[in-house]
């Protein structure tokens, strides 16, 4: 295509944007909604994955002591645990220390602890596991051995949660593509219908262009460009919506769940996901237009 023809395409896109402004706004809005729903799933998935990564990095077992264990007994339990080959190091957390740690974790929300006795939390051991023993079954086996030690009331390890949450992340990932796929197919056809309306509005013009020898590319290019533009604008609008949603969550999540809110930092989409949303928008718009255009022109030519 020559430069003069590219300029011609540009002029036609500009004309169409003005003439069929509401048509374009509606399509971009529809695409923004689909991409927003898809983006919410990405946001959820990314945050869960971040959470999991944080937990997974610190494979650690918490062994809570019975309330009646004396400090010398606690010391001998610590030495016993320390002697286990899988254990890297052990830290004793007294009831007072546990209380202080919890207050720190709650931060501004620590007022909720007012009125509770300082020894309400049990003393415990934080057991760091050596790297070769950090796989699920090995941690599980170590935890069951620790549970059998006299004086230990309960054993918890994040690996358990990591595995459970991994399943949730997987489910979110599947839901994202299945629901996203359905939405994208619907959007694809909505874009197609809008293009058909635009084609009908400019049928005469296309017919004349064909009669004077315009190439197929020149006839199709403005519509495809318009579709791509609509898709990119739709993607941009969905990102704006997601940013507002993210700000809303940041504010309201803390209020609704003060305990989790202070411990979990919600993150916005990473640059890859932002680019993904924009590219999906662009492709949906462009392909939807092209598909509808080809069908329309084929039927028209008979």
């Amino acid at each position: 295509m020559k430069w003069s023809q590219l300029a011609f395409v540009g002029r036609r896109v500009r004309h169409s944007l003005w003439e069929l402004l509401w048509n374009h706004v509606l399509t971009s809005g529809t695409m923004a909604m689909s991409l927003f729903v898809f983006g919410v799933f990405i946001l959820l998935q990314e945050n869960l994955q971040h959470l999991l990564k944080g937990w997974g990095d610190q494979v650690q077992i918490n062994a809570y002591l019975d309330t009646n264990v004396a400090s010398n007994e606690a010391q001998s339990i610590l030495e016993r645990i320390q002697s286990l080959p899988e254990v890297e190091h052990v830290r004793h957390i007294s009831k007072e220390q546990a209380w202080r740690d919890f207050q720190t974790a709650l931060g501004a929300q620590s007022a909720v602890l007012e009125g509770l006795p300082v020894d309400v939390l049990p003393a415990s051991f934080e057991i760091a596991v050596k790297v070769p023993s950090r796989s699920g079954p090995l941690v599980e086996e170590l935890a069951s051995r620790l549970e059998k030690i006299e004086g230990i009331a309960a054993v918890e390890y994040p690996q358990e949660w990591v595995e459970r949450l991994s399943l949730i992340v997987l489910a979110v990932q599947w839901a994202k593509w299945v629901l996203g796929g359905i939405l994208f197919v619907a959007t694809f056809f909505i874009v197609g219908s809008t293009v058909r309306l635009a084609l009908l509005a400019r049928k005469e013009e296309i017919e004349i262009m064909q009669l004077v020898g315009a190439s197929e590319e020149l006839i199709q290019a403005p519509f495809v460009l318009e579709g791509m533009l609509q898709g990119t604008i739709g993607g941009g609008l969905s990102l704006l919506g997601l940013w507002l949603f993210y700000l809303f969550l940041q504010q309201h999540f803390f209020l609704a769940f003060p305990l989790f809110g202070s411990m979990i930092q919600i993150r916005f989409l990473d640059p890859h996901s932002i680019a993904l949303l924009l590219v999906i928008g662009l492709l949906l718009g462009g392909m939807g237009s092209l598909f509808s255009l080809r069908r329309f022109l084929r039927t028209w030519r008979g």
């Binding site: 003069s4 023809q5 011609f8 004349i208 009669l211 004077v212 020898g213 190439s215």
Partner: protein, 228 residues
């Protein structure tokens, strides 16, 4: 320049629109296609600019087989043909100047260059001062001249006109024919489908008559002899 070999066109569930037509049209000829409604005049024109494909037979345009062209080839063919229709086919939302320039821009002429050429053509066709008017503000004859300007802007080898005077009063029809005659002086080949016998008698140098899809007469006025 144009050769038709045993061309037949049949539309589905219809009797044949054209039956076994063979003819040759040379460069620079002014040909009238005539015959009653349904004789096949429009179909023959449509076959020449590949709006339709023949059911049988071959059509050569400037030694190129029109029946074997792909989409790209059809676009290239049409850039060498100027088309004029009875209903003008002008875009009402564009100005007269834009309507004419559009045909040049789609084949790659710059906006500026196309406007200069469109101005010149419109002036030559007596439409000076109408550049910025919308087609619906013009008379039928003026609209037809705009359509002729559009047909000429890409310097076509061939101009096909389908009932170009059908919607015009006699004065306007005469005026349009004079424009065609002037066009002929530049060496452009003209094929005009019409059943206006007055005009055919006055201006036709070669008259091809069709009836029920068949070629019934092919007469050249200069020699008075039948064309081969």
């Amino acid at each position: 320049m144009i050769q038709l070999f045993h061309v037949t066109k049949t539309y589905p569930s219809n009797s044949p629109a054209l039956v076994d037509i063979s003819l040759q049209i040379d460069r620079g000829q002014f040909v009238f296609l005539t015959g009653p409604s349904g004789a096949g005049k429009t179909t023959l024109l449509k076959l020449l600019f590949r709006e339709e494909e023949p059911t049988e037979g071959q059509i050569l345009f400037d030694n190129q087989n029109v029946t074997r062209l792909n989409t790209r080839g059809v676009a290239r063919l049409r850039r060498r043909i100027g088309l004029v229709f009875q209903e003008f086919k002008l875009l009402p939302r564009l100005t007269v100047l834009e309507n004419v320039a559009l045909a040049a821009q789609v084949v790659g002429m710059s906006r500026k260059e196309s406007h200069i050429k469109a101005y010149r053509l419109l002036r030559e066709l007596g439409l000076k001062g109408k550049y910025d008017s919308k087609p619906l503000m013009l008379s039928g004859g003026e609209q037809q001249r705009v359509a002729i300007a559009r047909a000429l802007i890409n310097d076509p080898m061939l101009v096909l006109a389908d009932e170009p005077t059908g919607n015009l009063d006699p004065v306007m029809a005469e005026e349009t024919m004079r424009v065609f005659l002037k066009m002929r002086e530049t060496g452009t080949t003209l094929i005009v489908a019409s059943h206006n016998l007055e005009l055919i008698k006055r201006y036709g140098s070669r008259i091809i008559s069709l009836r029920q899809g068949g070629l019934v007469d092919d007469l050249e006025r200069v020699t008075g002899a039948k064309a081969s």
